[in-house]
Symmetry: C2
Subunit: 415 residues, 2 copies
């Protein structure tokens, strides 16, 4: 197996000022292409650290990728280190200089001596174009090994990974297939799932990789199998058997398969059934609506939403009766259902979906975080209760996903 190390360079990563999404993206792109990232080292941009870590990783791995340390606000540490390592000097790379001049001219700047240095590259490298930014990437090949230096700006790096790095790795190192299938579970904890998977794992083909991925919409249980391309058909069969076994085991908790977002799945189901939806929100405060709108083309099934954050607005906008609030708490099945009915009428849609809940513990009453979901269609209304265990904003995020999942399930039952 090809051993690949990623060195992410930048003090902000270590000071916790920037989340290291570059390593997530690199790991994910490699995985999709059948490779596995063996190690990720994050270091500050100190010359001696960059030098020693690049040397260490180069000695240990077949492929070394670096990101960061090339920008206009940094010195040329990475490049000088690489020139040393590959025993060459920095020379002006004319195409990169011209690209830099064009970009600067467009902004009305002239290229200073310092900026010109961005176009200086180690003589031994092959430049990798960076159409999204100013600093080109660098490819070094020696003794069958590869080192690629990429910029740290996420969308520049991502573009270079997809268009240059992955194709090169595939060409040089072939690639295994990584087949995988995902089961989405709700109302069950990772440790309970793990205990139950243990019971069925012996019945699965050897080599199945199991991943437990806690997400805001529930627990993702991923089954994967890594094989050479000629075994693809056999592996798909085996993976299918294992997947059915797991699906059986978690019958009551499975709410979906695959990796689509909850909003995307809901959108597909609404299109399939030819239904339009509107949303009334209280505790989620617009998050359910925002998730629905995050899907391109949602205007074909989404009419709109109302966030009625106060009781009197629930009355004025959604038409809830004052007597309802005399008989029931604002966080109740009755209010959730009335909100769903109200918003369905207000927007004149097939479906109304509503949330009312407590994002955090209520100080006066001591009531714990919880959620009531309401659903209304032409025939009837219904509701579901969900307990929440985290802090205010994690609870709101999870509540929004639970609302989408609830709608998904209820719409599935409409004939």
């Amino acid at each position: 197996m090809t051993s690949i190390s990623l060195i992410t360079i930048g003090g902000e990563l270590l000071r916790g000022r920037i989340v290291n999404t570059n390593s997530t993206h690199v790991g994910s792109l490699l995985r999709e292409s059948g490779f596995t990232l063996s190690r990720n080292v994050s270091i500050p941009d100190f010359p001696e650290t960059i030098r020693s870590v690049i040397e260490e990783e180069w000695a240990k791995h077949d492929v070394v990728l670096t990101s960061g340390g090339l920008g206009p606000t940094q010195d040329d540490l990475t490049k000088e280190t690489l020139a040393d390592l590959f025993n060459c000097k920095l020379v002006m790379h004319e195409p990169s200089l011209r690209s830099l001049e064009t970009r600067f001219a467009a902004r009305g700047y002239t290229v200073s001596e310092r900026n010109r240095q961005q176009a200086m590259l180690p003589e031994a490298c092959e430049a990798i174009p960076n159409p999204k930014g100013t600093a080109p990437g660098m490819l070094f090949q020696k003794d069958g090994k590869i080192l690629i230096s990429m910029p740290g700006v996420p969308f520049e790096m991502l573009h270079m990974m997809k268009n240059a790095v992955i194709p090169l790795l595939k060409e040089k190192h072939g690639a295994e297939l990584f087949l995988h299938r995902t089961l989405r579970l709700r109302k069950i904890s990772e440790s309970v799932v793990a205990l139950q998977v243990e019971k069925i794992q012996d019945e699965m083909v050897k080599g199945i990789e199991i991943a437990y991925l806690p997400r805001d919409d529930g627990l993702w249980l991923e089954l994967g199998l890594r094989v050479s391309p000629d075994k693809k058909v056999w592996a798909e069969d085996q993976l299918g058997d294992a997947f059915r076994l797991a699906k059986n085991q978690f019958e009551d908790q499975v709410y979906a398969e695959g990796e689509a977002s909850t909003a995307q799945m809901l959108g597909e189901r609404l299109i399939e059934k030819g239904l339009r939806i509107a949303v009334a929100e209280s505790m989620t405060g617009g998050l359910v609506s925002a998730k629905i709108v995050s899907i391109s083309g949602s205007s074909t099934y989404f009419e709109g939403s109302v966030t009625a954050y106060q009781i009197h607005q629930k009355q004025a906008l959604l038409g809830l009766e004052a007597s309802l609030f005399e008989a029931h708490d604002v966080v109740s099945a009755e209010v959730a259902e009335a909100m769903a009915t109200g918003v369905r009428k207000l927007f004149n849609t097939d479906i109304g979906l509503a949330t009312t809940g407590l994002a955090e513990k209520e100080k006066e009453s001591g009531r714990l975080p919880q959620l009531w979901l309401g659903f209304a269609d032409k025939q009837e209304t219904s509701s579901r209760h969900v307990e929440l265990y985290h802090d205010r904003n994690v609870n709101r995020e999870r509540a929004a996903h639970q609302a989408l999942i609830y709608a998904l399930e209820m719409i599935g039952e409409i004939e």
Copy 2:
């Protein structure tokens, strides 16, 4: 300076299935306490890798922190490696076993032989309680060095960092102060800011650390100074001078100081002025509302919102005239202002805020992503145009922040 390495253990990190927020949190907590994380290494949970990387980092650093590799779904690799490294055997840790039994009993499970092993700890370590989960942390001290092994579950690890690790590090290694101030800029790119900072940097005290942090609400320019506690007053003065210099330089781009979220700043300003707000959204689809509600106590100034995703809903709910849409595009200053006025009337608030825009390039017309913001108070209405440069959902996220910043600025002008 104390050299600290964090080893994050887990294959999901390297497969890009989980974002490495543990390293962000550890980096951030260390920074707040005057420490700096020197290195972060992410590795899969293979015995030989865990062993070799722990040994390497232990040789190089004063403090080694690990997270992950302790859960019920993993083998005891980390613990066995640590027992070997510190020359001891695994023994049953009775308090941890009792805590495990209590937790399992509550769920109706009995503790299996395998689960019991979670309570086995290397004899040489001191157990660190984990009130948030089942696997205790482990503290090893030898030759003036410290090794702490923490669970990988983010909220368990975070709790242990705050309550056990940081206090211990402060006690053992003292701590420098890291003073910092943040300037928030909009409508300017990192490279332009960097060029302008270069011009004034010589006038600042030596040792000022400058960080450029691109965020969804704009560019955060952070000035920091690391000093021993006895130099605090001097350092605050110096940092204040440098901060004023930067503020002067970017006068036209500064929209705020400090690190509060845009929603929090808006909330504080609304409370200060005694004003209540309502929001009408189109392109942002509920995101502006959701951000406002993310702030605890927002019910004192937030009445609610309407997402009117279709023209006919903008008419029906917000009272916009059909003639408006004959004269103007739906993405226009006029529509944004009318939406702001409409939602202000609908919810009977002091302020109405509205968004209408294109989250992505419009296929038919070729119009680029853009945003019109509308603002209405008792006296007048106004609008602002914002260009957007990214993909659908980054644009929506940025648009929501721009709406909050716009409201913040406009409310600042109300007497």
